[in-house]
Symmetry: C2
Subunit: 332 residues, 2 copies
DNA sequence: ATGAAAGCGCTAACAC
DNA sequence: GTGTTAGCGCTTTCAT
């Protein structure tokens, strides 16, 4: 028993109508109620399941969206993907997910694969802002939105957080709690958001009359690079004087917190209250540690980015949008 | 400038060869080195990007796999998805991800969508074992693997953990640490793995000569249902006597741990050491809390399930496989 | 309201 | 080694 899939043709033969009429009936268009009913019932009976490939071939639309991110297991991205997927599926879109491991060559492969699949649009969080991959995408003429960082290219639709303000309010949060020596465990220095947040950090210190000390700003890799992290640990445990820490992400905050137990930090007396992170992953994830976090205010970036993409696909909006989301400190 | 996508036909016209030859050349088959080179270079130059839809239409293979799970933001699933996606993309497969919110109707829609997309195979973690959705999938004649729980249906390929042993060794772990009053914060009672783990729990107690007390087994929803969780909290803080807890997942362990801070648990003195969870999410996620966890030993379920699915697709294996992975306790 | 015909871009089957 | 032909299943266009 080798069940070939039931096609419109099969239904047409069974009901005596033409393929065309069957197609129309299935979509409830321009056919009499009687034939519609007959056809739909026959289809049901025969176990008809449409062929999206064939539809797409002709219509030029696939109803699929590609989501390209650095690490789908990272709760930050996982939460964004979930938000996007839920919104998309409500509009009958499917999502193809690409995991780039934060590698530009994988990013390129992912983009090419997405283009080959004729996706209707792409949500893309690039590792490097305005690099060759973004260029490649821009040349492809397919709607896409860059999220998680604002591309400088004025032609490109972007959604991101107000990182400068984020750095500012994170610093302010710790200042208000009496800290005057604040380490900033920032992201990689090539990242645009790192620069922006640093700028906010400096501004807050300036306003508080605290001199900026560049030794207190460390950079940690997005990935959990052992060497870099060992270096960070050494600085934090042996070298620097501080009472509070800002981390680039809540994940980094967690790693930091994990360190605090060890012997090396015995005389530091840093607690969860003295740390503030970014991304507000607690919103979707039951973190047992009470660490404050900077995140988008009132709204989810995934929803904004996905809505924008859908608008672009449906040509609702034409002009390029660069959306900067307001941020706030979430205190658990 | 409305760039239509470059097709094989365009390349054929430019080079003077037939469409067929161009197609063959692009795949490096049966053509002379000279023509291959010319064609490939011309394609490159013209910015040719294949059309997977058209290929699939003819060949019957799409090179896409659907992954259907209850909650893609849950680190347990996120980690599985990442493992699967990485393995798949290494073999040139794309992954369409469906998030079912643990709802059977969403599951059904996801399955139908996947079938419409003509995916080559499906990885599916159903909410209910052997329910109508699994039935639907089985009737579709497309290769699929159920993971995260062993379907009782002998016709269906499954990959799961040895849950009975898991419950057993989790209990043993706490017994060895001197606990004699152990609460089991188990999963929903309709879940097969809940039953299996409970069975292991009972067995371990029996062997230790500790009478089984059914009041000590609570059920918590997969989702963070407030009412159920409040009830659990009440039982744990006011009613039950215990010194250790086994939780159904590491996420549940985290929620539990979050409770421990509150006033209600002041006289309980339960610490992270007295809790053991399931899933071993720490493997991919920097949890700052030192909670032991039961997980697959030596190997990742995602890899096993994906490999099995690929085998099925490539017809490497024909007979139905029911793979039960060995488990161990991971102590942080 | 229904049908006939064309064709989306590619690949498989067969010819030469 | 290369070309010709047919057709995957559907939608679109145009005719009736």
């Amino acid at each position: 028993m080798n069940k070939r899939k039931v096609t419109l043709k099969d239904i047409a033969e069974k009901t005596g109508f033409s393929i065309n009429t069957v197609s129309l009936a299935m979509k409830g268009q321009r056919v009499s109620e009687d034939t519609r009913k007959l056809i739909v019932e026959t289809a049901e009976e025969m176990g008809y399941i449409g062929n999206a490939l064939a539809s797409s071939m002709r219509s030029g639309l696939t109803g699929t969206i590609a989501i390209i991110v650095g690490d789908i297991a990272n709760p930050y991205f996982a939460s964004i993907i979930k938000g996007a997927v839920n919104l998309l599926s409500a509009q009958q879109y499917s999502a193809i997910i690409y995991n780039t491991e934060e590698r530009e060559d994988y990013e390129k492969n992912s983009i090419l694969s997405a283009l080959r699949q004729n996706v209707d649009g792409i949500l893309y969080c690039p590792v490097v802002k305005d690099g060759p991959n973004t260029e490649l995408l821009a040349k492809s003429n397919i709607p896409f939105v860059i999220f998680g960082g604002i591309s400088q290219n004025p032609e490109i639709n972007t959604v991101g957080l107000d990182d400068e303000k984020g750095g500012y309010i994170a610093t302010q949060y710790l200042l208000e709690r009496g800290h005057r020596d604040i380490v900033f465990l920032n992201g990689p220095d090539f990242a645009h958001s790192s620069k922006e947040r640093l700028s906010g950090y400096k501004q807050a210190l300036l306003e508080a009359g605290i001199p900026y000390d560049e030794r207190k700003v460390l950079h940690c890799d997005l990935k959990n690079d052992k060497m870099i992290w060992d270096q960070v640990k050494y600085q934090l445990s042996q070298v620097l004087d501080y009472t509070g820490v800002i981390t680039y992400s809540d994940m980094t905050a967690m790693r930091l917190y994990s360190l605090l137990d060890s012997e090396d930090f015995k005389d530091k007396a840093i607690s969860a209250r003295d740390i503030i992170g970014f991304d507000h992953v607690m919103a979707t994830f039951p973190l047992p540690i009470k660490i404050a976090s900077v995140g988008a205010k009132d709204i989810k970036m995934s929803v904004v980015a996905t809505s924008l993409l859908l608008d672009l696909i449906h040509k609702t909006s034409q002009e390029v949008k660069k959306i900067v989301l307001d941020v706030k400190v979430y205190v658990p």
